[in-house]
Symmetry: C2
Subunit: 255 residues, 2 copies
């Protein structure tokens, strides 16, 4: 099964697939390897991606692992604002810290961000970048709805569907299973719940034969019913079948 820290997908492929997923069309002009073929930087679990003393890049492409923007309240309560998965480009927003929720592998994305933001206004790359920003914004809105109006059960179902879809589109999930190396404590902080309740809710989803989680691997047993329960709406562009990226080696159908 695919592992988020050890997969064979090249950085430029991750980014290209992400952009193709949000635009729904082929993305050319990323220059294959050149722009992202920089040395990897590895962040240890719990460390800040934008800590002092780090290389000076202002934008990183997540290549492996999971990061998250974290808001810490004075009394110790924590809210994880979003997850940053392989294929995501992360930039420091100056408000909240960006923390490695697992070991995280990064490559410098500043050159490619320049390419994406400074090309001619109607270029394929710039439009893909705008689409990516819009998708990210839509996911943030989804997070608001999740926290504001969904029950714990629905929240967890929604999160699993969203995460699966994001990973699937960069080739890091099979049709209905994926690697999610997060402790329940982090899922709790992401969904605004307590650890204990995340544990109970996870088991409830398993008992209902909707989603089974065992040691960091999630299997979605009934995506349609989960989507129905969680009011899940895809934030990816409908993509013409002829345009799909090729399955990367190593992705198998879920067991």
């Amino acid at each position: 099964m695919l592992n988020l820290n050890q997969h064979g997908v090249a950085p430029c492929d991750l980014l290209r697939r992400r952009l193709e997923a949000v635009t729904g069309r082929a993305v050319d002009g990323l220059g294959d390897r050149a722009l992202l073929d920089t040395p990897r930087r590895t962040i240890v679990f719990g460390a800040d991606l934008h800590a002092e003393g780090a290389p000076r890049a202002e934008a990183w492409l997540v290549v492996g692992g999971v990061a998250g923007q974290v808001r810490l309240l004075p009394d110790g309560r924590r809210q994880i604002l979003n997850l940053r998965l392989p294929g995501d480009i992360v930039q420091n927003d100056g408000q909240d810290s960006l923390v490695a929720l697992t070991p995280v592998d990064l490559v410098d994305a500043l050159p490619v961000v320049r390419e994406l933001t400074e090309g001619p206004p109607q270029s394929s790359l710039r439009r893909a970048w705008v689409a990516a920003l819009r998708a990210e914004h839509a996911r943030l809105n989804d997070q608001v709805v999740r926290l504001g109006r969904l029950s714990a059960y629905e929240r967890l179902a929604h999160l699993l569907l969203e995460t699966h879809e994001r990973l699937f589109h960069v080739g890091l999930a099979s049709a209905n299973a994926f690697h999610l190396p997060l402790r329940q404590e982090m899922i709790a902080d992401l969904l605004g719940l307590s650890v204990v309740h995340v544990s109970r809710t996870t088991q409830q989803l398993r008992r209902d034969r909707l989603a089974a989680t065992r040691s960091n691997y999630v299997t979605l047993q009934d995506r349609d019913r989960l989507a129905d329960i969680a009011c899940y709406v895809s934030r990816f562009a409908a993509r013409p079948a002829s345009n799909r990226f090729e399955r990367p080696a190593g992705v198998r159908a879920a067991g």
Copy 2:
């Protein structure tokens, strides 16, 4: 007391003050009246700002009233994603509808948005626009934290502080009071609570002598303590005192 639907602030002043508030410095080059001196469009309560048959502008400046981006779930649950107050520029994002929560006055902001987005990259206007987008994003993050990790009491306190600050910076609030023409039902949908609980929480804030709401007017009686309770952090730039905009006529100290 200032009314959000009948105030004497000109559209271009609203926008200028908003931009000055997020950048912390004077904003010139908006061309005074010209770019925003278009006929007003009035949206009736409950209607969609981007409804069919409307004029074709893709960006509007809110001049009066309150709008909000609304997500409606299939079973009738509602989540208001954010509030759009006078001085805000709203654009259709294609996902969620933008609804008038009170009667709303708009002017076409397409010309001024072009000005803000298409000038030279380092121009004062473009940087102000970027700062405004960042502030909006930060507020969306605040909304996530509010829903995810704050209690009902804290959520309401936080919302009142944020709304006061936003209105104050465009000259539509006095030092600690403002007009908030929203029904409790809308505050409930914004804060992920039930109407009944909003009612109870409002009264609790009044009993604690922190914030008093009576018929759409809110008085913040102890901003410091409210901010402490709600973990409130300002999303506006610290502004040198010498740079403050002049108080508009009609703003008095709160009673």
